[in-house]
Assembly symmetry: C2
């Protein structure tokens, strides 16, 4: 029995065009599982901005990658002999793996069957669950749980056409906020205008982008990029405003060249509240988050925008698209249509 | 009738030793007040770190100072003919002024008589009210209202021997927290050790200061300095920890040379919550704050540490002491003992 994996051949190249050099596809023999181990098949892989950090070898909430390690990725997977059970977790860029349920380090979480049933009721695909977990939850935690956005408030969202940004836009529009989205691409502007006629879109690549928002006028900023844009947005915030921090890669392609934040004093003067947001927020909040999101889907206030690839080896290509900002919405590697073992 | 004022002669000199050059004492004739105006006498003046920003000419929540403007300062003042009424507000570095009660821009707030009575019951001086408002309230808002510190939690406080720091230390000790204070001066270390035997003190001027706190071990950080120390403390924070931001001047003597904050990504990964804290937090919270603080005074869990000067013209000397970090606790210019008009 064999599996394919993508391993780290070379740490984060500076030039995105050379990204392929970081990855190496290998074919490995997989031993037959002992009674304690489940043979798992990876079904869907999430392509996320944080992968840039992982392939740089930095330590995050996951262990730092060494050369030849299987590269981290969040996936949905199932036991080969029971496709009805779905597990979520950082199982990595591999088609199959042996899972020791008793090893808590692997941190796979079995998705409750009830949740899968609700998904189907909402006419959502199983692959959508990955997007809901990794991007819908942060959007909810940031805007609904932390910022507590209200009708009429001005809400600004950066990387508006990204996977998390699209959730944010829809949640804020559904709440009847005055929603402003940042994007830097003509195609994305057209797409957003078509999909969300009430959304105000600002092209942040224009010189005067920040002039288009009055200082001290924003109640809530959902920040997917950090750095320079965060600094500018601090000027735009109202007193007692809230900033959900959900991304810090900014526009720099190199993880080690990030800029600092130099206007902390305004955070004090304006009594701003900031919170770091990740999908794995306080566990006791997950149920409320899913309830809220599923209700939005049922009321047709939420749609998922996904772009799919079908081979493990598509990952470098998909990642390059993500890092260049060419994608709209979520990128998923869908391995569910591959030949079975 | 005459008054004395300190006006801005020259914007923020880089060298603290040349600070006197920023100030000029002038003597002005004061017109007899019309019926709408109250002739006010300044009784106590607060000497605060933010004065460094004001004399730099920067715009804060108060208007930017121009040359020859009376320099901003928070004061307690009384009508000359009614010393029982006390007003709080940014009346500036002047011995007397005409106050138009109908002009909301001046923003003086009449201190409720009930509060003055409670002060006296706690055996506190009227001048202490200025310290409670400007330093006790931020300590309360940061640690009690925002961080919600609990028994056993690790709480770290920078500028521990400063006016706000001393309130923070006492509130956290009273809550039976594991309290760590930063200071950079041998005299202050001795003072803190004598006053608070359970306090752990770290001299941040030692090379290994940050090694004395394990990474990911701090529940709450009350930040009075920002910059480099804030950056280091972000490493020390536990997941879901809270940081009260109450000062951003750091160790740099020049307002324009402040450093940026470069590890925002850790704020995200750890899901930290940050909030800018000022004494003039949400107005509806003031009563609860005073109730809490007065109870602490009555239970002898709070004491006020004040250093007093007696002439308006002592301000540059007092400020230099503050900026050099030579003071312990609050610095007040007490004009209440001056000859009456």
């Amino acid at each position: 029995m064999h599996k394919q994996s993508l391993i780290l051949q070379q740490k984060a190249p500076k030039n995105i065009n050379e990204l392929d050099q970081a990855f190496k596809l290998i074919d490995q023999k997989l031993d037959a599982p002992s009674s304690q181990l489940l043979l798992m098949k990876t079904r869907y892989i999430s392509i996320d901005p944080i992968m840039r950090v992982w392939i740089s070898g930095a330590k995050t909430y996951l262990p730092a990658l060494q050369q030849n390690d299987i590269i981290h990725a969040f996936t949905l997977s199932s036991p080969v002999d029971n496709q009805n059970d779905i597990y979520f977790g950082p199982a990595g860029l591999q088609t199959h793996f042996l899972y020791d349920k008793t090893n808590k380090k692997k941190q796979l979480i079995k998705v409750p069957r009830q949740m899968l049933q609700i998904l189907q009721k909402c006419e959502l695909q199983n692959s959508n669950l990955l997007t809901i977990i990794l991007n819908g939850l942060p959007a909810y935690y940031g805007l609904v749980d932390f910022c507590k956005i209200q009708k009429g408030q001005r809400v600004v969202i950066s990387a508006a056409a990204g996977a998390t940004g699209l959730f944010c836009i829809q949640l804020a529009i559904s709440m009847q906020c005055d929603v402003i989205g940042f994007t830097g691409d003509i195609e994305k502007i057209k797409f957003l205008q078509n999909q969300f006629p009430t959304l105000r879109i600002i092209n942040y690549k224009l010189d005067d982008w920040d002039k288009q928002i009055e200082n001290n006028s924003v109640d809530c900023y959902f920040d997917n990029v950090g750095e320079y844009m965060l600094e500018k947005m601090i000027e735009k915030m109202r007193k007692n405003g809230k900033i959900a921090l959900c991304g810090s890669m900014g526009s720099s392609s190199n993880y080690n060249e990030r800029q600092g934040l130099s206007n902390m004093n305004q955070i004090i003067n304006k009594r701003l509240k900031l919170k770091g947001i990740t999908f794995n927020q306080e566990l006791n909040k997950i149920q409320a988050a899913f309830d809220y999101l599923f209700q939005q889907f049922q009321q047709k206030k939420l749609r998922i925008f996904q772009e799919e690839y079908n081979q493990l080896n598509d990952t470098p290509k998909a990642l390059k698209r993500l890092f260049k900002g060419d994608n709209i919405g979520k990128i998923i590697i869908n391995l569910d249509n591959q030949t079975k073992l």
